[in-house]
Symmetry: D3
Subunit: 159 residues, 6 copies
């Protein structure tokens, strides 16, 4: 951790890292999150019969749009020229769960984890919003990094 | 669920609910989420010794700002004149977890759950961002509605 | 036009109208626009076989989101607490045209034409974006106000 | 169209194209749109005597600002480092029409048509807003691509 | 100061004030700032001969747009339904200074000082931007509240 | 000034400079501004005893976030991939003044003065907002460029 500690602002204030000296490389990050529904809500969503309509398409678009605005939401994130964002959904029948996987890519000087996370979590919030008229105790859970490649710290993959 | 079904767009398309006929009442919502850290990261955060500095203050401000922009992020949400937003943190030593509680209030025609959720999840993402240089396998989990009051559906409280 | 002329800034500079003295009434506006495609593009869109996928759903969500941000885009528009926005599509087989109708509602001190127009035109731009890989000479045309009600100037309707 | 079809998401969902492998070249796009006014409105605009003031200057600035935010408005657009945006107006006396031409330039991996279109249409919406106190049946029409150069598909020009 | 002290968060963290209990009254605020130019720059601006063109019109529109987005920029500000924003310029020949006066109005539960200040300072920054190609040592100075009325604390006026 | 004059739009309209032909170099800019408080307000801020809490941390985050959105606020600014933004505060006891220094860096085709200025002035506005419950006659003053390097015009430094 010596490298990181050398970065510490002496008084503990929040700070943006200067990435100007970092190499510009291809960066990929994939994040996952899960929306746990009741059986009834899951069935309505699967049948596209929710009062507010098509939850997953709405969530996909919301997630992609949010990824592009990560730098506005997360104070110490850098603006990045994203070359690709995707949000994918896997409805898991047995557990009435929507598994959301979001991917971001760029050629840049810093990683795109936060863009992938923002896409995943805003997609999850949108699923919640589309379902909340029929269920209040929805759970958004298990949000974690699945994959990251392209930076100095090498490839991270837990899939 | 008859009430909701009467809202369904015949072809399942996403749609915004017209709230123009709803009563303008005092609305409160509280959402919770959790950031599970490693012991080492938790200790660095607690000692305000993270490379990027003060994680919780940065996360609080990010969460409050994000709540005010919920309508830009969640497609079918209405713009609301929020009268109050707060984001509170409880570091839980035993489990190396930061419990985040976000609250939103308005006098309006629709609930503020999404604003509370957005504040909580963007605060959690900011904690992740402030800690990610020292730990990659951070988990954001257990995001759920704790309290909601003020609408036609009455008070919901699981605390 | 005496009423309007009394508002004129003596030097012709752009100005925002003060709506503080206007009555708060229910306001509705509906705007229309048209995207004229080639036969081939129209058929791909109708078959949901465009390279970038589902054009109309994406356009609907983009239009609704844009309506909520009209005050950020149009300099002299007031921020309004929209109670409802909708974007509807009618594909017209004979002319290979997508007719877009956007509606906005609020209870406020000024009309919602610009919100309806912004929804319609951003939806049209999104249809263009979703189709542009297969056709470059798409036309967006015939954008006009269909209906406006709720203000001092009475109801306007050309449908 | 084989190239495009190979991009198709198997289930027709909306998707962002990955531009990470595309060459970074100089890109230019020019779009046109038209605002058709009544004789009376046209004369007021030409005399800079509209109630809300200088319509064209306001529209120019609104169009330039909007071009820079295209990636926030059009879901599948990529954020681009625009090097130039311009919006030009040609008032056509005979037809009481304002012809708007918008141009965008970048050195990037994808075209700038959507930025040019967004500038043109937001400028047109702003002209509408500045004139709507004196005329309700304004038409925004004839929006099309005039020129595009710099990408793999070669130069397109209809001027 | 007893009233304010009762609001203090026990640990000194930043917080948003809950304005939900405040009376909804007509609120006005006027702020002033000054851009001090060199004689040469002032003359170019006055002759509308700056390389980037009409500085004051651009600054006026930028200031009005920024006022509407104050709640996005200033973390603890509330979103407000502004009914009026204006930015006025007085070029002072003797001192080569542009005096900027910005006014904001709303009917709301909290004051509009920050909206007036944001309009004034973003207008000043825009004047700087329009002039910076010809002068680097421009000064933005003397930014202060001129007038405030409508809240519990009564009218404040230093004009 | 011949170079600039050659840029002038013949009719004095505002215009964005085309930076597409400029060299991509490392750019740094530092701007300064000052918030002059009363003795009482300064002491409350220094003791972190203001009603709205920690003014400087809130201002630092607001300034950094605002720098990243400069291109949305200042009409003729280009979007830039900022590699670093910082906002630093020096409380000056004798004059009850907070000196704010903001720095921006990028590798790009145009300077980052406006980003540094926007960070400094939004930080100052945030300090004002955090203090305004206890003092109304706060002054924001002395905003100027301290340093600029990396462009064709060479290094400028007044420190």
């Amino acid at each position: 951790m010596t490298a990181q500690l050398s970065h510490i602002d002496e008084d503990g204030n929040a700070r943006m890292v200067d990435v100007g000296h970092k190499a510009q490389t291809q960066r990929v990050a994939i994040a996952e999150t899960r929306v746990v529904l009741s059986r009834e809500t899951f069935d309505l969503l699967a049948a596209n019969a929710l009062p507010k309509g098509d939850a997953l398409t709405t969530a996909k678009i919301a997630g992609i749009l949010a990824a592009k605005r990560t730098f506005e939401l997360i104070p110490m994130c850098h603006p990045l020229p994203l070359s690709y964002v995707d949000v994918r959904f896997t409805p898991v029948e047995e557990t009435a769960t929507i598994v959301i996987e979001a991917e971001a890519r760029t050629a840049g000087q810093t990683g795109v984890e936060m863009e992938a996370f923002t896409a995943a979590q805003v997609a999850a919030l949108t699923v919640y919003d589309m379902c909340k008229a029929v269920q209040k105790d929805i759970l958004i859970t298990g949000c974690r990094l699945l994959h990251k490649s392209g930076g100095k710290s090498g490839t991270y993959d837990v899939r």
